[in-house]
């Protein structure tokens, strides 16, 4: 069973940002290639500068709020249980230099990229939406990290309990924040994203008569990751009243999510010792390693190119350039 690693940096307005050389990605256990790492990191770090501090995200240490500090207590309890979600919990409580809140960043970049006049800044509602996107993603990771316990085990049961409650806390907090945005369509879109990532857990990546295994993978990834990013992009454009860019933004969100995930699979496949169990082996059975990599890189590059094409609808500015750099960095 593969433990999920979720790496999130919880920044406050007071901390400076700097370039962090080592980055890991969700669902990937193993180190990615050096070239890829550097260009991705650089693209993301530069992008963070474009939008100022990525978020006004909760910092579990700096927010003097009863509820938040309680969460820290419960996450620490999770750490003590031996539960697979320990890494996730650790990164939430002890935020370190290795974390990026990339989904929130994408939302902020999209918000800024759509501004036609240079003076316009990202709206507070858009920043809140970026925070909500990260919260929902975190809740997703935590809840999908709950493990099935067939035999009683006090520690793991406690771990599950903490995982359920903390995930619920993040979801509830997201809903309350969503309500403050005073936009019904956005509430509907994010609710749809949560429903989609739930549905994704029940999809098998097995070829059927109508769909190839690759189609099923696409469907699953669209629901699991694409929906949240796409709907978040769409929502931020709604909030920014950039009606004409909504379709492009939404599609861009989807393409970048698929490209990103495809790249994660490729990198982990390359560095994974046990390839037979990897999802790519299942997508391309009985294919030599080199061909599997090449095939999936082609899939990834299709999505990257589609994303770049959609970006051309946006005004040329620092933010849209940063988005392009991030997309291109995935191709390495």
């Amino acid at each position: 069973m593969v433990p999920r690693s979720c790496l999130i940096r919880w920044k406050t307005r007071h901390l400076g940002s700097s370039i962090h050389p080592a980055v890991s990605f969700s669902r990937s256990l193993f180190a990615s290639s050096q070239v890829y790492q550097t260009s991705w990191v650089q693209a993301v770090s530069n992008a963070e500068k474009v939008v100022g501090f990525p978020t006004s995200f909760l910092s579990l240490r700096s927010v003097a709020n009863d509820e938040i500090s309680n969460i820290a207590v419960y996450l620490k309890k999770l750490i003590g249980t031996g539960h697979p979600l320990i890494t996730t919990a650790k990164n939430l409580v002890y935020s370190n230099d290795k974390t990026h809140q990339t989904r929130g960043l994408l939302v902020l970049l999209m918000s800024k990229a759509a501004k036609r006049e240079s003076g316009q800044d990202i709206l507070p509602e858009q920043r809140t939406l970026a925070e909500i996107t990260e919260l929902v993603h975190t809740a997703h990771l935590i809840h999908t990290g709950v493990i099935n316990l067939n035999t009683p085990n006090a520690n793991l049961e406690m771990g599950n309990k903490m995982a359920v409650l903390c995930g619920d806390f993040f979801l509830a907090h997201s809903c309350v924040q969503l309500a403050t945005l005073q936009n019904l369509k956005v509430v509907e879109l994010i609710a749809q994203a949560i429903s989609d990532y739930s549905t994704a857990e029940f999809i098998d990546i097995i070829a059927s008569e109508n769909d190839s295994a690759l189609d099923r993978w696409s469907q699953q990834m669209t629901l699991r990751y694409g929906s949240l990013i796409a709907h978040a992009c769409q929502s931020t454009l709604i909030l920014g009243n950039n009606v004409e860019l909504i379709e492009s933004g939404k599609s861009f969100g989807l393409e970048i999510a698929l490209a990103w995930q495809a790249n994660i699979e490729i990198q982990s496949f390359k560095s994974n010792a046990n390839r037979a169990d990897h999802v790519l082996s299942k997508l391309f059975p009985e294919t030599p390693f080199v061909d599997v990599v090449a095939n999936f890189q082609a899939v990834r590059d299709r999505h990257v190119n589609a994303a770049l094409k959609l970006l051309t609808a946006f005004p040329q500015n620092d933010a849209s350039l940063a988005l392009g750099n991030i997309a291109r960095a995935l191709k390495c």
């Binding site: 309680n70 979801l171 309350v176 019904l184 609710a191």
Partner: protein
């Protein structure tokens, strides 16, 4: 059945005077004070009316012909569960199955009944007859039931339950992982429905419920060192876990009807007081029901480590209960000892009293609405709740 002016005046008098005599050591006055204190601590968007008007109208419907709330709103709730299940179909087959599992119509549907009854009573009071309004109010009833059920699914995983409503619980049938995801799915669908009601305030109210439910669950995990704080902690937890959903659902349907803040407050307060009473009665029955059964000597709450109202009251007479409460009845024999001491004390009696006070307060609230069969049914609901304790 008739809320006499004398009782309401007494309540009004006592709630006004008690707030000035909070230093009195007398137990029941102290808890009435807590009742008032908790009332004023609520985060309501509207101002809370604490002065109780004197009741002069008597209900004219003869006693024997008063329909129960359940019967009155049955037409409105026709197909409630079918509609909910319908709303959960747009997904993978297995997720659909898990999500629909608890919506088989076996539950008491107490929340939809209260919600629709309040909706009808408020509509009558405001002479609100627009067809769109009742449709939306029915959706609130559905959403309330979905939120409640999603929380049950998560609770079953958290409590490692093995059965619910005489059937295996979801976590037993599908495992914890899928059950949690199913709970999230139900919540997401409920949120989508909420958004489509096109009312900002209603979304704010019901999303607050979600936050309260989680916080209530966290509160239940924690314990208060200081025994004087324990009852306040228990009250707040009870509000968040049980009463919040009912209170905000009632307020939400009143908002949809066009209620002003005063009327919304009445709806909210009724839901809140009834919800608090509901939980107290549940906590009481947890003791009474088990003592009637052979071979099951301890209450389920005690076994879960929870100190509910009967225990907290008993601890005032038997201070040896305090260490047991602090260690959540973990040591062997703790639960049995606590159970025995509760039965020996006046804990059950005082819990009944408190439930009665909450019910009376709820009745006082809706007595301010224009008399109608629905308004009367809301009163009946409170009385029926008290009857469960007998």
């Amino acid at each position: 059945m008739v809320v006499s002016a004398r009782i309401t005046n007494f309540l009004a008098y006592s709630s006004l005077t008690v707030s000035r005599v909070s230093h009195l050591g007398n137990g029941s006055l102290r808890y009435q004070w807590l009742l008032c204190r908790n009332t004023s601590l609520l985060q309501l968007r509207s101002k809370i009316q604490t002065v109780v008007p004197s009741i002069t109208s008597n209900v004219s419907v003869p006693k024997e012909n008063i329909p129960t709330a359940d019967a009155l709103v049955r037409p409105d709730l026709e197909g409630l569960y079918e509609d909910i299940r319908e709303g959960l179909t747009n997904t993978q087959p297995e997720l659909r199955q898990i999500a629909q599992y608890y919506f088989n119509g076996e539950g008491k549907a107490i929340r939809p009944v209260i919600t629709m009854c309040m909706a009808r009573a408020i509509n009558y009071h405001l002479d609100q007859n627009a067809p769109g309004v009742i449709q939306k109010q029915k959706k609130i009833a559905q959403i309330a039931e979905m939120i409640h059920t999603a929380s049950l699914v998560h609770d079953d995983v958290i409590d490692v339950a093995d059965s619910r409503r005489s059937r295996p619980s979801v976590n037993i049938l599908w495992g914890q992982k899928k059950s949690i995801i199913a709970g999230d799915f139900i919540l997401a669908m409920a949120s989508g429905m909420l958004a489509r009601l096109q009312n900002q305030q209603v979304i704010i109210l019901l999303s607050q419920v979600l936050a309260d439910l989680v916080q209530g669950e966290f509160m239940q995990l924690g314990a208060r060192e200081n025994k004087d704080e324990r009852f306040a902690h228990y009250s707040e937890k009870t509000f968040k876990k049980t009463a919040s959903l009912i209170a905000y659902s009632c307020q939400a349907v009143s908002v949809l009807s066009g209620a002003d803040s005063t009327l919304q407050s009445i709806a909210f307060q009724y839901g809140r007081q009834l919800g608090m009473a509901f939980q107290l009665v549940d906590d009481l029955l947890d003791f009474i029901a088990t003592s009637a059964q052979v071979g099951k000597p301890v209450a389920a709450d005690l076994r879960l480590g929870l100190a509910t109202a009967p225990v907290l009251f008993a601890a005032q007479k038997f201070s040896e209960l305090n260490p047991l409460i602090m260690r959540r009845f973990q040591e062997p024999g703790d639960a049995e000892t606590a159970f025995r001491l509760v039965l020996r004390s006046d804990g059950l009696q005082r819990t009944k009293e408190l439930a009665r006070q909450y019910c009376n307060d709820a009745v006082t609230q809706v007595a301010q609405l224009t008399p109608s069969p629905y308004q009367q049914a809301l009163v009946t609901l409170a009385h029926q709740l008290l009857h469960r304790m007998k």
